[in-house]
Point group: C2
Chain length 206, copies 2
């Protein structure tokens, strides 16, 4: 049995979301005692919590996330330790770590600030050289423990999207991968006709 | 690269739901041309589309789905072909097919009726002997291409729940597994503080 590590933030009522986004509502509308069953309802935008962005979020595209081939959402994981970098830059050592079709995770450590204003309003960003390195390597997805790998006007998003690299935002627990040699990332989004989707992201230790 | 088979129904606006459930709303609220990004919002109950039920749905329980250990949601899959049975009963051959900790999928073929009234109102059910067989085998989850493995008062649900077996409802494409010897089921729900969750269910051919 492989060890499984949960890299996802919890979806709860009134959870913290990006200043651009509407609040999340999660509430119980049926109760065992009176209705004979419990039921919860959810009102949520596609960019709350841990989620996957696709090109349609920022580019002219008619390809919804439910139409993207499943192989995109599962694959060899690689971790880059980028703690304490305000602007995250390319380093030569990454060339050996990152392989074609990887799902690359950036450990900034910023998930520790989740729940504070700093998390959304003053986070590290990656530079264009590093984004272009991911493009060259033809990775499947880039995952970050940040609300976004960049800020308005979101040029890093667009570089990745133009090359069909998806972005996982609001990851957590990435520090648990530091001691691990080899892992697979499993991150199948909902089969939803939208430009993005909430997702449970799991690292499976090999 | 293992072949991946999608066993999930699509989440769309006004999708068909169980008569007990409120309708689903999925709509675009931000548009690239005017807002510089696309965004969809979703209003949904936890039992719409392909989803996992936990004991809290029908029993006194304070264990939310986000608290259930991850190993419950991934495991060896086994398929039982139960097409053309109105009451689905135990058969001796199942004893060799089903192993401890399996995620057992029942192919009724009823997903072909998804989108019609018949699907929700006149579907096959499983009997207590078969439910008790799953309990004895200590399976992890039971998945069905039906809205439910039973009808009110949901005694089959309760037998399974009392033994901590979860239920995946509204699966599809199970016929694709008929020709496959060995597969893994991957069905991680959202990390949501609720009694159930939408889920993307994937069979990974071994």
């Amino acid at each position: 049995m492989n060890r499984l590590i949960d890299l996802s933030q919890k979806i709860v009522d009134k959870m913290d979301v990006h200043p651009y986004d509407d609040g999340v509502k999660l509430y119980q509308d049926k109760f065992l005692e009176t209705d004979q069953y419990n039921n919860y309802k959810l009102e949520i935008g596609m960019h709350a919590g841990t989620h996957i962005d696709t090109p349609m979020h920022l580019l002219e595209s008619k390809s919804y996330i439910n139409e993207i081939p499943l192989q995109k959402f599962i694959g060899r994981g690689s971790l880059l330790d980028v703690r304490n970098e305000k602007i995250i830059k390319y380093k030569e050592t990454y060339d050996d770590i990152v392989k074609k079709d990887d799902i690359v995770l950036l450990l900034t450590g910023y998930s520790e600030k989740y729940g504070t204003d700093t998390y959304f309003n003053n986070h590290p960003v990656i530079d264009e050289e590093l984004a272009n390195f991911f493009v060259e390597k033809q990775i499947k997805m880039l995952g970050v423990d940040l609300p976004s790998p960049d800020e308005f006007p979101f040029e890093i998003h667009k570089i990745l999207f133009r090359h069909n690299i998806l972005i996982i935002e609001n990851l957590t627990n990435l520090f648990e991968l530091l001691s691990i040699n080899s892992f697979e990332v499993i991150a199948f989004p909902l089969k939803i006709r939208a430009e993005a989707s909430m997702v449970r992201v799991i690292a499976r230790v090999k």
